[in-house]
Amino acid sequence: MKTDHDDPSGVAQRAEARSLGTDYERMFHPKRVAIAGVSPGGGVGYGTRYLLALQGMGFGGEIFPVNPKGGEIAGLKIYRSVDEIPGGLDLVVIAVVAEAVKPVLEAARQKGAAGAVVITSGFRELGTPEGIAREEEVRRIAGTGIRVIGPNCFGIYCPQSGLTFFPNPDLSRESGPVAFLSQSGGMASDFAMTGMWMGLRFSKVVSFGNGADLRETELLRYLGDDPETGVIAMYVEGVRDGEEFLDALKYASARKPVVILKGGLSSAGGRAVVSHTASLGGSRVIWESVIRQAGAVRVRDTQEMAQACLAFSLLPGRAYRGLSVAGGGGALGIAACDAAEACGLEIPPFKEEVRRQVEAMLPGSGASGVNPVDVANPFMPPEPLERIFSATARDERIDLQLMILLLHHIKAFAQDMGKTMEEAFSYRELADRMQGVVRRTGKPIVYVLPNPRRGVTDLDMVEYHAKARQAFLERGIPVFDEIGEAMRAIGHVHHRYGRGGAS
């Protein structure tokens, strides 16, 4: 694995020197936050919505709303200007009109704020000379002693401090290892919400919009060193400097997994080129190569990104070549084998002794104790499942165990027995037992929980599955909807740590 000592260009040192002057701690965990651009007259503009979102999150620090008209809002005094606020500030959130951003940012700098989040749009993204000039002003002020996120962004989500995106008052306050960087605010906000049900817990999520000052390169390096972050995900459309980006990506990837989703990939397109090399080297293939060169993980869409992050956050970081698979239905076993092969993973046959033990635990007809294990039922009670997974973990070729149970069959089963679905099959008991297996064997279990019943007539099933998912996630067991998705995510972890070739 490469380290920063390999950095030949000195880019690392330059960026590090800059980062030293950046008080990220005060930016992500501010104690005193000003919000410039609240509306005192009862209207709900951007500033007010941000204030309400921050309060909704239960932000624990002090909030200072600002509007030249003064007054009161949401139980807080409105200051007429940033300078009027008594004492210092850590972070200033700016939601005033574009023309008024400059003096507010200047005032925030003079106040000693470590950073500013400029939500306001109307800058470079307009493509007009005025917009570009305004952005240049932001960059200039940033260069004089305050770091800027934005403009044209949703800001910072940090569950630990309670900072949130514009306009999300109800994101999780539970912290975790996943960091996410995105130019797009919508993408950042959606990813934070997807993570809530998928089981991702975040350290820091930054939507940096136009990236006038802080952007992908510096933030990657910061997160690479951030002890609160264990895996970095990133959505990128374009980068300002390819060379610096590759260096930063190498730097971060040498320290922790970095998952990259590149938007706007296309083939070579209309370039006039002579050689075959140039015609083959379109932006897509070059981007793929650069991500690999940095040792980062490439994903194709947001779902795959979230799934990879889940696997990286819950599975211990090592190679997982050999998998055991146990569950209901022979076809699922076949699907698992196909998916494993496509992801560079193996489902090796159990050694004879393990196979005999497993077969002794299975119902007589239709069941199979080879790997994949077919339990000949959509699901079976937690206790024998625990025994099977304890037995299969004993095979030294097995690095990780995949469980496939089809709980959507529980509805008819429960009705026949006159029980509730929870009574008919306790996912909590199963989750407890499986957590025990993982602890005793040291081999992670991944749960595949498909639910083909998601329509309005099956909302009870949707709820049952959501709760089952949560029970497993709470016990550190990753859950995926589909076999292929699980394999792909496990494959990313395997290749990242095993360097098992191209993924």
Binding site: G242, V274, H276, A278, Q293
Partner: protein, 228 residues
């Protein structure tokens, strides 16, 4: 050949307003960077053919060599497996005729025997600058597109990783009675191609296709250098 001479070749071509180097010139640039190329002699008239063939030895290859003609195979400007003086002289006359008005000579080149053809190249990406390509060569390059890139400069690990990433990577192993390719030598070549991309701003694109494995040793058999 020194690196300065590589710069001179390019400067001269640019001075003449050319967008490409001839194969002969391209190989001198490669040679200056320690990249193994075919032994060859450039001849302009018939009298130079016999001493050239004597120097290279039969069987040999003869090619039209002009900066104006990029893809020689498609234009019928190549004769392979030339075995006698008679054949060599006939080939010279035909190639000269087929070059038509194009300025240039005829390359008398050693014939590299080997069934494994690779490709290497250099392109400049708008975002990442010079990038080196490696992959399956010959006529399969464009059909199978089994290629990978690395941004220059490359370190040895980058070059080695490229060889492990193509789908046809087994072609580099000892297969069907052929020796395993000299991967260290291949890595040197890829690193040096990246070097050219860093050193020589006026080199826009490079194709080395094919790079033939002669036993375990890679040799650049054809080369195209496009100038900016």
């Amino acid at each position: 050949m020194s690196r300065e001479s590589a710069g001179e070749i390019i400067a001269r071509a640019r001075g003449e307003g050319r967008k490409t180097l001839s194969e002969y010139e391209a190989k001198r640039v490669l040679e200056a960077y320690g990249i193994p190329v075919t032994r060859e002699v450039l001849v302009h008239d018939e009298a130079e053919v016999p001493p050239a063939t004597a120097k290279i030895g039969y069987p040999l290859v003869m090619k039209g060599c002009s900066a104006d003609v990029a893809h020689k195979t498609e234009k019928g400007l190549i004769r392979v497996d030339v075995r006698t003086k008679m054949e060599a002289l006939a080939a010279f006359r035909e190639i000269k005729r087929d070059l038509g008005g194009h300025k240039g000579g005829v390359l008398v080149q050693e014939m590299i025997r080997g069934r494994r053809e690779l490709v290497m190249g250099l392109t400049r990406d708008g975002q990442f600058g010079p990038c080196v390509m490696f992959g399956l060569g010959g006529i399969f390059t464009e059909i199978l597109r089994d290629i990978v890139f690395r941004k220059a400069p490359l370190d040895r690990a980058d070059a080695m990783a490229m060889m492990g990433e193509i789908r046809a990577r087994a072609i580099l192993d000892a297969v069907r009675g052929m020796e395993a390719a000299d991967r260290e030598r291949l890595a040197d070549m890829l690193i040096q191609l990246g070097r050219i991309g860093i050193d020589l701003d006026s080199v826009a694109e490079i194709d080395l296709n094919p790079v033939i494995l002669s036993g375990k040793d890679p040799v650049v058999v054809d080369a195209l250098i496009v100038l900016s």
